[in-house]
């Protein structure tokens, strides 16, 4: 029996449209407030994001104008193949990324817990969180895809309908894999709660194996002349697997290619435009159908899945690496024990935080895969040396994103638990030093191995390898010093989210200084070597014999370069650390 309400007329259940409007309004208010607070509190970050995105867009646009012009002249028929390969790989990535984002938004967030206790439909909550996940997972596609597709239209002299249709094509396309990701996520949680991690692992493994296989088969032929006709033929034959007429990536690429087609006079080709609109209609229809399916699934499975997930018993942690922690804690002199115990604590936290080590493994793993495939190409000495330095810079840049994202917030997060450490017989300096050692030692091993792998694959001489390893050592030290030092100098003790700490002013400054430091180290190390190699390969006449360039390209220049790298490394390490230590000693919590 339903009991009559105390205030029957004061409240009512909203219609689906009213709920949707309410959430759209909420989303708009939140977005506006976020932009407003960025404009007032994070101008540096906002400026950097806008400027770097603009530069990235322009660079990609320029690159693809050249690329499409080359292909248009030589291999015009392969555009479709390239589009299919590009869009199908994006499709797979979007399925996974949206699935993961929907999982964290719908099942692990405090917002979901709030919304599930309000009189709102499960499908509305899903739609709200789906939009959020779609935005986060697909902005990269828009940033990457728009310059490529615009460049294609420009090279093909496409008419205005092509450019008008770009956005509808892209939006309708991304909704399809994103919906598939959210459907898989909800189904896994509701009906395979315990097996969801296994299912995800299997899916990721299959995708990774497929990607590795494709990469390997394309580049593993011994010393193929890259960019030769034979190489192109073999590569395109392998990429043909992505040209499936039932894939949304095929509808998208075919639709865009048709939209870009012009008639003999250079005007709009009516038949091609009709074909293009047909493909767009197929994309839109499938996107809408999948949204409906996702909404229906949310209605029947979301609350059930949430309940099942909340009711899971936490797995008992297996402490396989306990022996390592104990050995580290007890190794060395007794005076260093507090520092080692802090290290063990950070190491345990790192191991148990899947978001940290999984990103570490993915980025360095992909880099390793790329380095392994370097052997497939033939290089001359100066080209190989240049690629070696660029690879060194890439390793440094990836490490700097980790130091900024994970190491920089460590002191701030420690500050929130300062009452624990503050009452222990540990000097504050030891806390800062433990963070530095953790970052330095943790980064050094994978980075040095990656640089060694890259240089070996490029066939560089041992002297260059040794120089690169020294640069790598300095980069690891300097980047750790910058992140820990600035983290201690500008801690944010009120914030509990590491991502918010790292995206504030201090984190952005740390990233900018880290990038400048990496560029300085690589340029200082690379210039003498490059000048030396140019003189050797192109003849001494290229560089004036008594000029500064000749000196820089000689043994003294190389020695000066190494000394400068060491000075840069030590400065980047100790200046921020000393500033951080001073500030942290004076810190009042």
């Amino acid at each position: 029996m339903t009991i009559r309400s105390v205030t029957p007329d004061a409240v009512r259940l909203l219609s689906f449209e009213d709920e949707s409007r309410l959430f759209m309004r909420l989303r708009a208010t939140l977005a506006w407030e976020t932009v407003r607070s960025m404009l007032t509190d994070a101008r540096l970050r906002l400026t950097l994001v806008v400027v770097l995105s603009g530069l990235f867009w322009a660079a990609l646009y320029g690159l693809f104008i050249e690329g499409f012009s080359f292909l248009d002249a030589l291999h015009a028929e392969v555009i479709s193949l390239l589009f299919n390969a590009f869009f199908s790989s994006l499709m797979v990535m979007l399925v996974f990324s949206t699935g993961i984002l929907v999982y964290s938004g719908m099942y692990c967030s405090t917002e979901a817990r709030l919304l599930l206790t309000l009189p709102v439909r499960a499908e509305t909550i899903h739609a709200h969180k789906f939009r959020e996940a779609l935005w986060f997972s697909s902005w990269g596609f828009v940033l990457l895809g728009s310059p490529i597709l615009t460049a294609y239209g420009v090279v093909r002299h496409a008419e205005w309908p092509y450019f008008v249709l770009l956005l509808p094509f892209m939006i309708s396309f991304v909704i399809i894999p994103a919906s598939v990701g959210s459907i898989c996520c909800m189904a896994l949680v509701a009906w395979m709660t315990r097996l969801r991690m296994h299912a995800l692992t299997i899916g990721v493994t299959i995708a990774a194996v497929a990607a590795i296989w494709l990469g390997w088969t394309m580049f593993s032929q011994t010393k193929v002349d890259a960019m030769s006709a034979a190489w192109f033929e073999r590569t395109f034959a392998r990429l043909a697997v992505t040209e499936q007429k039932l894939f949304p990536s095929w509808w998208l690429s075919s639709g865009l290619i048709e939209a870009a087609r012009t008639d003999r006079g250079g005007g709009i080709a009516g038949q091609a435009l009709f074909e293009s609109l047909t493909f767009l209609a197929i994309l839109v229809a499938n996107a809408l159908a999948l949204r409906l399916l996702a909404g229906w699934l949310a209605r029947v499975a979301y609350r059930k899945g949430f309940s099942q997930l909340s009711g899971e018993m936490p797995a008992r942690r297996q402490r396989r690496l306990r022996w390592f922690d104990q050995a580290l804690g007890h190794a060395g002199f007794a005076t260093g024990r507090p520092l080692r115990l802090l290290l063990v604590k950070d190491l345990r936290l790192f191991r148990r935080d899947i978001s940290q080590w999984s990103q570490f493994v993915i980025f360095f793993g992909l880099l390793g895969l790329y380095f392994v495939n370097l052997r497939a190409f033939n290089y001359n000495n100066s080209y190989a040396s240049m690629i070696g330095y660029l690879n060194l810079a890439v390793v440094g840049l990836i490490l700097s994103t980790f130091t900024t994202r994970f190491v920089y917030p460590m002191i701030s997060l420690e500050g929130r638990r300062f009452w624990i450490l503050g009452l222990l017989p540990v000097h504050r300096d030891q806390i800062v030093w433990s963070k530095f050692l953790f970052s330095f030692v943790g980064g050094l091993l994978p980075c040095c191995l990656l640089v060694l792998l890259s240089d070996s694959m490029l066939g560089l001489p041992w002297r260059l390898i040794a120089q690169h390893e020294l640069c790598c050592l300095m980069l690891c030290m300097g980047l750790s010093g910058i992140a820990v030092g600035l983290g201690a100098r500008m801690p944010d003790l009120r914030e509990s989210s590491p991502s918010k700490i790292s995206s504030g002013f201090g984190g952005t400054l740390s990233l900018v200084i880290s990038s400048l430091f990496i560029m300085s180290v690589v340029v200082v190390a690379a210039v003498p070597t490059h000048l030396f190699l140019i003189s050797n390969t192109m003849g001494s006449g290229v560089v004036a014999p008594n000029g500064i360039l000749a000196w820089a390209g000689g043994p003294w220049g190389a020695t000066a370069g190494v000394i400068l790298v060491v000075i840069l490394g030590l400065t980047a390490t100790f200046v921020p650390l000393v500033l951080g230590l001073r500030a942290f000693r004076r810190l009042e919590v």
Binding site: T2, I3, R12, L13, L30, T110, E111, P119, R303, S310
Partner: protein, 245 residues
């Protein structure tokens, strides 16, 4: 108003709540007590629809929380132990969001929002972003949001955490007044003094089972302890029963 009908909830092999049958009528303030791990949070989560019972049914105003959660939620307000707000909304904007979610007419929503801002003394910071609030301020705002639509049933999970003494007094007075008007309150708490002062009936859970249900006087009678505090009685129930089980 609130019915637990032979409700059992298991987590794998562990039974968190076992065959709970409980009915709480209109206008009663019920306090659920128990040691950590007794099943209080599971009970509260089933009551607000976040967890589904493994067996049995939970109903609010006659609406089953699994079959018809929206209709049940329309009659409920919920104050969780950890307040959840949108950092980038002001307190007033959050209250408007909740009022709109319950489909309250514009004029009524305006007056209710003003009323709750005044009750919980939120005026000073109602137009600041929630990210700048202290825990106590957040908790007061969540209380205000949960009472906006004058719910028939108010569910409170450790409601006094983070509140200063003045805010605690405000909440207590408000709960007394609202229960007199017919609102039912289901409260889980470790603050025995509050339960003793305010609850019409208490339930004591131990290891997923409701070991005692009744008034404090009945508890005293049952334990044959005439003039002792609830704390003493509670410790007697939980420790002796634990030993028995």
């Amino acid at each position: 108003m609130i019915e637990f009908d032979h409700v059992t909830r298991t987590y794998g092999p562990k039974t968190a709540v076992s065959d709970l049958t409980l009915a709480i009528p209109r206008g009663e303030l019920f306090a659920l007590l128990g040691p950590n791990g007794a099943g209080k949070t599971t009970t509260i989560r089933m009551l607000v629809g976040l967890l589904h019972p493994s067996r049995g049914a939970v109903r609010v105003c006659g609406h089953d929380l699994v079959k018809d959660p929206r209709a049940a939620h329309l009659h409920m307000g919920y104050v969780p132990d950890e307040p959840c707000l949108y950092d980038k909304l002001t307190g007033r904007e959050f209250l408007w969001f909740i009022a709109d979610m319950f489909g309250m007419p514009r004029r009524l929503a305006t007056s209710r929002i003003d009323r709750e801002i005044e009750h919980f003394e939120l005026g000073e910071f109602a137009d600041d972003l929630a990210e700048s609030y202290s825990l106590g301020m957040k908790q007061r705002l969540v209380f205000a949001a949960s009472l906006l639509h004058d719910p028939d049933v108010l569910v409170l999970d450790e409601p006094m955490v983070g509140l200063d003494p003045r805010s605690v007094r405000i909440v207590k007075d408000l709960l007394s007044a609202r229960t007199r008007e017919g609102m039912t309150v289901f409260m889980s708490t470790h603050t025995l003094a509050m339960a003793e002062e305010m609850a019409d009936r208490v339930g004591i859970m131990v290891r997923g089972q409701l070991r005692f249900l009744g008034t404090i006087a009945e508890l005293r009678e049952q334990m044959s302890l005439e003039s002792t505090t609830l704390e003493h009685l509670y410790l007697e129930v939980t420790s002796s029963r634990s030993r028995e089980s």
